[in-house]
Assembly symmetry: C2
Homo-oligomer: 244 residues x 2
Amino acid sequence: MEKGEKKFLKEYDISKFERPSVTVDLVIFTVIDNELKVLLIKRGMPPFEGYWALPGGFIRIDESLREAARRELKEETGINPDEFYLEQLYTFGEPKRDPRTRVITVAHYALVDSKKIKPHVTGMEEIKAVQWHHAHDLPEKLAFDHKDIINYAITRLKYKLEYTAVGLELLSEFFTLTDLQKLYEEILNEKLDKRNFRKKIFSMDIIEATKQFKKGGHRPALLYKFKKAKPSISTFKKTKFEQH
Amino acid sequence: MEKGEKKFLKEYDISKFERPSVTVDLVIFTVIDNELKVLLIKRGMPPFEGYWALPGGFIRIDESLREAARRELKEETGINPDEFYLEQLYTFGEPKRDPRTRVITVAHYALVDSKKIKPHVTGMEEIKAVQWHHAHDLPEKLAFDHKDIINYAITRLKYKLEYTAVGLELLSEFFTLTDLQKLYEEILNEKLDKRNFRKKIFSMDIIEATKQFKKGGHRPALLYKFKKAKPSISTFKKTKFEQH
DNA sequence: ACAAAAGTGTTCCTAATACACCCATGA
DNA sequence: TCATGGGTGTATTAGGAACACTTTTGT
């Protein structure tokens, strides 16, 4: 009874509630020169003027969270949908995280192949307000709670890497096993044993050899590519944190 | 340049954006008679009148997401903070998930000891609009996208159970190993080998024996309790998905 | 003494780890 | 030919899975 009434009032008041703003923020990862990078934008106005911030924006009233994230991602990198990996990360909603007004942000993270990024994003970065920063060496001046968000994204990425083919989204179509190992080492921030790494990757059954070789250096390295069918995530464990 | 302007406009327009409502929904788990239960509320008005829905409510403008979830949880179960486990699950924001208006919900899940639930929530459930439902046998008539949310929560719970002490929040202070195994079997929905189960639990180092026994039945069973210090989650893997 | 649940030992097998070695190329 | 990175073999170990047995109580 009393509970019913409370419920009723609550619903009745829908329009009266002071509403927070809702944004989508993006942690966009790529790998450039074997370094894990995050895209950041220098803020040109207060609050946090001159600080670096994650790309993001308001959710439009008729688009889903994922659509909003895809739109943002497309705007910032020029990359087409289905050429990146995108996953919801966590929702950050401390009342004071934005000093202006109440903003709740649904953070996402994305993995993109640096070769597919629109030139205007990668070129002449020094003078631009949009820059790739080393994920393991972030600038001091990060706006809002974006440092937390980035670190959370890195944690998630490391975790996913262990039992998922997710890392492959960061590489180009053809790559050597050494490329792949370097990628893992960079993200996990630790050295891996060559033999064991290869065994693990092969056991995952996510890549296949081509007949091409990467010349240069010394002994040419066999090039691999992802299996056509996006790696079918098969085991019990693996399915656990698939995005909704 | 052009990017800067776009950004500027975006921020300038903050107040003009049509804002979605933001709610917190709760998947509250408990175990009653060795069955995993979820708390649901029968809706007394459209939309989905007569359907079952998760408890939830709007986020107040000055409280964090977690605070909102705690408040909701306290309202529904009467349980005090730090007597339950609470974790953000996922944010659901399809534009049409609520037919009335745009509502984004930050779903959480909670684990509570059924013995600590306020009597008014457990008593005389048949005639009440608040009921515990078997998590593995949900009612057909679930409102909104709440079936998805519940299933996602079950998936997360199963996953967490495998490498975390999270299940212990569902038990009372003292319990036997058989109680604990029954709990795991109910949540995971599978039979477990007694010997292996015990080895795994002991290796986690999360419980300790008392000197008490649970009499009744046949051979008395040794009672255990959680280690004083909440299980310090220690290994690499284990820290990965800790709540923010 | 026997049924029923509590509690323990041990084998088997897979998979991660830790090594050491061979191979193909460019300079 | 030798330095360099590409590529493979294998022994050891840790942990999960499968299974059989002993112990302690109530009746």
